[in-house]
Amino acid sequence: MADAKSQLNLHLARVALRNLLGHPRRTLLTSGAIALGLAALIFLWGFNEGLHRNMLGNFQNSIIGALQIHRQGFFQHPDLSLTITNPQRISETLQKHGVTRYSQRLDTFGLAASDHTTQGVMLIGMDPLNEPKVTELGRRIGIGRFLHPDDSYTLILGATTANNLKVQLGDEVVMIGYDRYGAMIAESFTLVGIITSGEMGLDSGMAITSLATLQEMVDLQGQVTTFVINVDEQTLPGLVSSLNVDLAGQQLEVMPWHTMFPVMKEWVTLHNGFLYLFLGIVLFIVLAGELNTLLLSMLDRTREFGVLMAIGTSRRQIALLIVVEAVTIGIIGILLGTLLGYLIILLTGLIGIDLSILLGSTSRFYVDPLIYPQLKLDHLGITASAILMASILSGIYPAWRASLLQPVEAIRNG
């Protein structure tokens, strides 16, 4: 009996499908509208994802990395009294977790002085060998070069700082600061590189020298203030948890990029929020379009429903017919839309979308001029599921209306 019932349901589903095939233009127009909506959403999600990945990647690669480790409180109040005295232990922990792309830094404040003027800067000592594994700072040096391992008292400045100081490559810049004991120190550096990234954070207020030079200058040999680590987004949460466990009790802070700069994360969330709003609008259009088609189809087949009821089809079965039609239209639309959206993402992912036409300079937002859309499966899943739900919903009202028909009235007036 159960088999016969499932066969009957299958048969009803087949009748519903035949109805859709019997009206190919109507079916294709409705499914096509859904497909276009979905393809547009997929493209927007893909573009959004590509933009975010590009922006966050550039943001992390510019200088901050994906994750940093400091002594507790250093991020809020950078002070040379808060150094990591045993960096070897952290290096071992990182290697234990398979992290190879990390670098050590010593950060302090200083005053850069030229023959013309002075300017306050963040003085960063970087490891010339390991830094390129973590950030792409070297690629942003438009004039001159990055640090060499055998450099001594060489300096890299941002373009804005260099302009303010009116210095050029090879000029001497005096860095004034305090050593670990609080005593004032001043050393002369040779300018070897100027950063011309276009990003405000990099081009002004920063002076970079080698880690060894700065350690010597502030008398903190073998000590660092910061570990900068580069890992991908998927690995990041797990690594943060593991490091928090492994480094517990050592008065260290393990800070992913979004903890250090939450505004970036919030910007991404806000941007995604706009897309969810757009998804809602598209869903409403899908719902209205499909509802309209199904209601028209229902009006067109009122007599048929009356006859089906007269010959023994129950109200539930009539409703099932319409819901199956709605779901099928939705599924066809989702398949076509996914295919179309995927092709668009594939194509634009290969050639990229040039934003410079629209925005001029994009570098100040950490965005490259060319964006390569990428499809994230969970976004596709959410969008497709939402459209399927909208299709089911749009079938429920006509199904309910059809199930309320009186056979005689339907046959007479249909």
Partner: protein, 278 residues
Amino acid sequence: MPEVNQSTIIQTRDLHKCYWVGSMPYPALNGIDLEIHKGEFVVLAGRSGSGKSTLLNIVGGLESADRGEARILGEDILKMGNSQRTGFRLANIGFVFQAYNLIRVLSARENVAYVCQLQGKSKQESLEIANHWLHEVEIGHLGYRRPDQLSGGQQQRVAVARALATEPKIILADEPTANLDSTTGRHLIELMQRLNQSLGTTFLISSHDPDVKQAASRLIKLSDGFIVNSWDEETKPPVSLAVTCPIRNRPFGERLRHFFKPRRKTDQQTKPGTSRHS
């Protein structure tokens, strides 16, 4: 409870039905008492608007009556709920409509098999039954055609096969020959007569086609909602329209209009002495 003969298959008592046409009540049935026995080939005759289709619809459980009783196979179909009526129709009654009313996206044999599948039969069994009945109505070779690929007569034969496929006790046919030419119509009636005789299925047909009337084992004449013995018989109007035509039958829009319509006082309602001319 009225006495029911063993062979009585359809019995109505004091059946009333009234429609509202706009704001006008229109009594379609005025106390129909009817008894049809097993295996009869009964034709309901009468002009348009005489109540034939309404009577068929009520007997078929497609429509409710305002008053009275309609016992089909001993059960009062008017007291059944919607789903109970649907099940009852599926098990006991086959329908043949004037406009064939086949499912346009299904082939002839799928149309016939459809009702068998509704009864819970397997697809294979249903298709075998469909083939059998299509052969019985002499269009077995057209089973794979869709309704739009069949002539009117062929479509009506498919409709008859569909009505017979569930092996019902009763077949109700509403003007089955009205859309057919006279030769095709005659053939269809001969077929229905033959099936009536060979299967013993009771046929109740509404028609004003002379060929159909001629084929009847019993002719029931309807005029203005009354059963009459001859067309010359004068029919009496219902006692009171207000009683026979309940307000609930009135379309909702009409009911609203009626509710909000300003009522004028009639001369009888006007108090004496209030008139300026009194």
